[in-house]
């Protein structure tokens, strides 16, 4: 008999267990599945079979010990449960197949691209044709979050602890230990929110600012996922009570206007009120707009802008 390679043996095990009407005993598996050498020792067969079970489990195929046959109750039988082997999405319509296909296509050239493609093949294998939906999906794409998204989502599902180096605003690198609770996108970036173990508070990190590899380990046993956390609030203005008043020229400074909670017309200029989340980044945005933006309040922001302007004059004069 020709040598049977690992893929063939694994397939044979699956075919054998899926095709059998009742649980199959070890002895039957050993005798009938091509690939288990008849002349191998019992121990060698055991090792091989255990390894094959692990391999199949990593592919999502669970080999379980089935019920004992009352007549031969000295040996356990094995089976692969239908409900765990098959994609059980229930009744599914053409419209739903289309929605799922569009969802998978959103990953084109991004983190889960290959995985989404594989999911798409499974969906198409259901054999239900998709509807032509008038959703312009090609214009909505998910951004690449690197290779870490899979690790992060698994950690969220299992309350694992993630340790990673994070770049602070001065390019300093600090080690963070976080139990992640949410993953979200905003303005084309991926954000991870979680309970920072050092301060026991929720913090949000931009995934592309994580430096190097993320290490995942078992999380704290008593971890309780904070209830009612909404990732979108991590970016909202409600968390601050400090506001800046900035004059912006009419028709200019759209990026500052986009942040305003109110705008007052002053003729050639408009005055916008902007919540201060981070003084340095607001200062930078004001400077970006050059003579089209002028800070009225607070003095702290004015002073910072003036300080930078003085340096710019000195460095470029």
């Amino acid at each position: 008999m020709a040598r049977v390679d690992r893929t063939e043996r694994l397939l044979n095990v699956v075919f054998c267990l899926r095709g059998a009407a009742r649980p199959v005993s070890r002895a039957q598996i050993r005798a009938s599945v091509a690939g288990y050498e008849p002349e191998a020792s019992d121990a060698a067969f055991e090792r091989m079979f255990e390894r094959d079970k692990d391999d199949l489990r990593s592919l999502g195929i669970e080999i379980e010990v089935g019920s004992f046959d009352p007549l031969f109750n000295d040996e356990a039988g094995y089976k692969i449960k239908q409900e765990k082997y098959q994609f059980e999405l229930g009744d599914i319509s053409s419209t739903e197949v289309s929605l799922l296909s569009l969802a998978a296509e959103a990953w084109q050239e991004a983190s889960f691209g290959d995985v989404a493609q594989r999911a798409l093949v499974k969906l198409r294998s259901i054999g239900i044709p998709s509807d032509e939906l008038s959703i312009p999906a090609s214009v909505h794409k998910l951004n690449d979050g690197g290779q870490d998204l899979s690790l992060i989502t698994k950690a969220i599902a299992h309350n694992q602890l993630l340790a990673f180096n994070y770049l602070d605003s001065h390019l300093g690198i600090k080690m963070r230990s976080v139990v992640p609770i949410a993953l979200s996108t905003r303005n084309g970036f991926w954000y991870l929110s979680g309970v920072d173990q050092e301060i026991q508070e929720i913090r949000t990190f931009r995934v592309d600012r994580i430096s190097g590899a993320i290490a995942a380990s078992a999380g704290p046993k008593d971890f309780q996922t904070p209830v009612g956390f909404d990732p979108s609030t991590a970016f909202s203005e409600s968390s601050t009570h400090d506001f800046a008043l900035i004059d912006v020229r009419v028709g200019k400074a759209s990026s500052l206007r986009a942040l305003a909670i109110s705008t007052q017309s002053l003729g050639e200029w408009d005055q916008v009120k902007i919540p201060i989340l981070n003084l340095d980044s607001l200062c930078s945005l004001v400077l970006w707009h050059g003579p089209d933006a002028f800070v009225q309040e607070p003095a702290e922001l004015r002073d910072l802008v003036v300080e930078h302007l003085e340096a710019l004059v000195k460095n470029h004069g």
């Binding site: 999911a119 969220i156 993953l183 084309g188 759209s254 050059g290």
Partner: protein, 305 residues
């Protein structure tokens, strides 16, 4: 890392997924099947041969699986127990749930029927892989804009867009002929011929504020007009994350100098201004000078108060 399986395991998964795909696509050509599974035709033939061998009776208690592919078209019969698609993996479920969430943000609220289906699908998928509802993705593109772009690309029509140029800080109305959607630096751009500028331009889709389909105006020239680019030398005074991200530099130290290439003098001026004391523009001298003048004008205004 998105987990990569070893080659034999990868192949096992592919062979198992082949059975349901062929079952629901009887008579599919070998070439097309190879394309769907992203392998070459030689590999697909070898996959099918292995599958055929494993399906032979005697090897397993399974009935004879009847697989035919000699004609170049593939059919399968008697594979009932394996003909349903396999359950989705955790990563596959996550990809679909996030993709659905993005889709939800891209669908007009008037389509309540679709939104409801998305929610139900998402819950069902999350249930299958035991995923807590902690993932969210939102589209940065306005629904009306994406609708108009898709329609224009499909029917080879032009578009009238209002576009916010970040560097000029101006909202302009342009008449464009869209060519294709391209992805650069994780942003989507609409590569187009701009009739207003009489040249090829790329418009960042999330900065297109309105878009209306219109008839094409005129012929498009074959080759783009050469734009002049500027080379700038920037010196780092204080290494900050903001500077690293703005200028796309990875290694920054005090006194590091780097070059950057740009078509827009406004971009370099604004980038230097926004970086404040953290950087200094070394060259070109005319942009250096205009930064000094601009900063002085602004400073005078603050001091006058």
């Amino acid at each position: 890392m998105v987990k990569k399986f070893s080659a034999p395991l990868e192949r096992t998964a592919r062979l198992l997924d082949l059975v349901p795909y062929i079952s629901s696509h009887q008579g599919i050509s070998l070439a097309e099947l190879a394309k769907v599974f992203n392998v070459d035709q030689g590999q697909m033939t070898s996959d099918l041969t292995t599958l055929w061998m494993c399906g032979l009776p005697g090897y397993t208690p399974l009935e004879l699986m009847d697989l035919n592919f000699e004609s170049g078209f593939v059919t399968i019969h008697n594979a009932e127990t394996l003909s349903k698609p396999r359950s989705i993996t955790f990563d596959e479920g996550v990809a679909l749930v996030l993709g659905l969430d993005l889709l939800r943000s891209a669908i007009s609220p008037e389509r309540g029927d679709l939104l409801e289906r998305i929610d139900l699908l998402s819950q069902r998928l999350a249930g299958l892989i035991n995923l807590p509802s902690a993932l969210s993705a939102t589209s940065v593109v306005n629904q009306d804009v994406s609708g108009a772009i898709t329609a224009a690309l499909k029917s080879r029509m032009g578009l009238e867009i209002s576009y916010h140029s970040l560097y000029r800080d101006e909202l302009s109305t342009r008449s464009i002929f869209p060519i294709e959607i391209v992805k650069t630096d994780s942003h989507l751009y609409l590569s187009s011929y701009c009739h207003t500028a009489s040249d090829f331009r790329q418009f960042r889709i999330d900065r297109i504020q309105t878009a209306t389909v219109q008839a094409v105006q005129q012929e498009i020239p074959k080759s783009p007009i050469q734009q002049s680019s500027h080379t700038c030398t920037v010196k780092v005074l204080t290494p900050t994350r903001e500077v690293a991200e703005r200028f796309k530099q990875s290694e920054l130290h005090v006194n590091t100098e780097f070059n950057c290439q740009t078509y827009s003098t406004q971009w370099i001026e604004r980038s230097i201004m926004a970086s404040g004391r953290a950087v200094c523009l070394q060259s070109p001298p005319d942009i250096r000078k205009s930064i000094a003048v601009m900063a002085q004008t602004m400073l005078d205004r603050y001091k006058a108060r």
